[in-house]
Amino acid sequence: MNAALDPTTPRPAAPTTAWELLRADFPILDQRVHGHPLVYLDNAATSQKPRAVLEAIDRYYRSENANVHRGIHELSNRATAAYEGARARVARFLNARSAEEIVFTRGTTEAINLVAHAWGARVRSGDAILLTEMEHHSNLVPWQLLAQRTGANLRYLPVTGDDGGLEVDRLGQLLTPEVKLFAFTHISNTLGTVNPVAELCARARGLGVVTLVDAAQSAGHLELDVQQLGCDFLAFSSHKIGGPTGLGVLYGRRELLEAMPPWQGGGDMIANVEFYASRWNVIPHKFEAGTPHIAGAVGLHAAMDYLDRIGRQRIFQHDQELAARAYEQLAGLAGIRLLGPKTGRAGLVSFHFSDVHAHDVVTVADQFGVALRGGHHCNQPLMRKLGLESTARASFYFYNTAGEVDRLVEVLREIRRFFHVPL
């Protein structure tokens, strides 16, 4: 074995940066996988959780746990305060006008499905929904279902090619009066493209088209201001920003949320129930049927506090530095095809080797302790358009280091050696 890859080879001590010190906040990072130090580069799939989040959830279950909104006893008051406090924190996190514009869901996917159902109730046959070719299946299939229910049509703003841009010039042609909603991702989970959200929203708003931004890949990585972006809806997931799984957020402009019918029935979403009819609760409760993920909201609150102590602007800068470092070194490997923009990319790099399949890359990398993702990244139509079946992807977060990027490249060289292909 190459000495550099031998886990017993002593490594030179690198100067410790402030970023590396943050790693101590993430207990999970301090472990070996298959005998090697874990290098976790699957952050676009899910992020790891800082101790502050783990402790907040633990504290909630130990001292505050009760059901929310209807209890009169002390614990229920505490749980309600914690849950609604998290909602107010999300409103600040996104600079929404009020906490009433924040709906908790199970995740980004459910948030988009909520809009496709509840807002979608006004969609009629012949209407059109505009998407882009780089949407994750979660911002594509809910609209296909809506189109099937209503007879509406789907349209796609094309992706330029491997460089991962959007053909924004085509917007004028596509945004005709039939289009009722334009849904698009902020950051592509496959390409690493950062889309010009404010510009796209302004174009749509000028024509009275409602906008939805899939912020799953951006919420934990850069500052979001829904008023500045000018979007009508925005969705993200707790688990990708350091919070627990099973919780997501839908931001919706008040006027739209108020005009929308509920989409799930049950407790908490009603004002009054009779045997044959009910009246709905006010927003946002109208969209939260049943006992919510209270502990999840508490964990998300802690995650947002944690991120904002670091500063999301600084996080994005760090992401970009790591992505640029990875891109530069990977571009030097033989037989590699890199997806997405050369510059200004978000913190992920997706690549394809002409002679080693992505699943083989990911399997072997895992044996060196490097966690990557391989496959179509829930972007099947885009992959097909680019003539690819699968790619391998490395995605970074603030606790990743330049040393880990170098380690990735070293391991990829070893993988090519392993499969006897040119370096």
């Binding site: 399949h357 699943h359 399997t363 072997v364 499969f419």
Partner: protein, 149 residues
């Protein structure tokens, strides 16, 4: 690194780089497609018989080293076998790939797939051509498609 060289044995690397019987049959009597939607792996198996015995078998497709080598070795090991033998072999291969044990069965070169069981995510890749060949044998109609999902 032992697990890794168990998974990617030289035979597997060799067959993935230069797959045997990699061509369509001119007049296949049966054929079936295997598809893994997770990674896009695709394999088509072509079969020709003499009575109940496989006279010729070939494949085409694209995929990872494991699925390609599995298809290549499958074509080598099934020529001259009866339908009943193929089905028995399928069960033995499945047991080998999921447990690492051959349970006394003589699997010839296919025994190199014992290492797959330590990589649960990759069992589907290795089994894909086997699922396709069984689908081809069971389906009286033409060209069924099997999926790992």
């Amino acid at each position: 690194m032992n697990d890794l060289s168990d998974l990617y044995q030289e035979v597997i690397l060799d067959h993935s780089r230069s797959p045997r019987n990699y061509r369509p049959l001119e007049a296949p009597q049966r054929q079936a497609q295997g598809h893994n939607p997770l990674c896009g792996d695709q394999v088509t198996i072509y079969l020709a018989f003499e009575g109940d015995v496989i006279k010729d078998i070939s494949f085409q497709g694209s995929g990872c080293a494991i699925s390609k080598a599995s298809a290549s070795l499958l074509t080598e090991s099934l020529k001259g076998r009866s339908t009943a033998e193929v089905k028995r072999l399928f069960d033995q291969i499945h047991a080998l790939m999921t447990t690492g044990q051959s349970r006394g069965a003589d699997l010839g070169k296919m025994a190199v797939f014992a290492g797959v069981h330590k990589f649960p995510a990759r069992v589907k890749c290795a089994m894909l051509p086997w699922r396709a060949v069984v689908a081809a044998l069971e389906d009286e109609g033409r060209a069924p498609t099997v999926s790992t999902e």
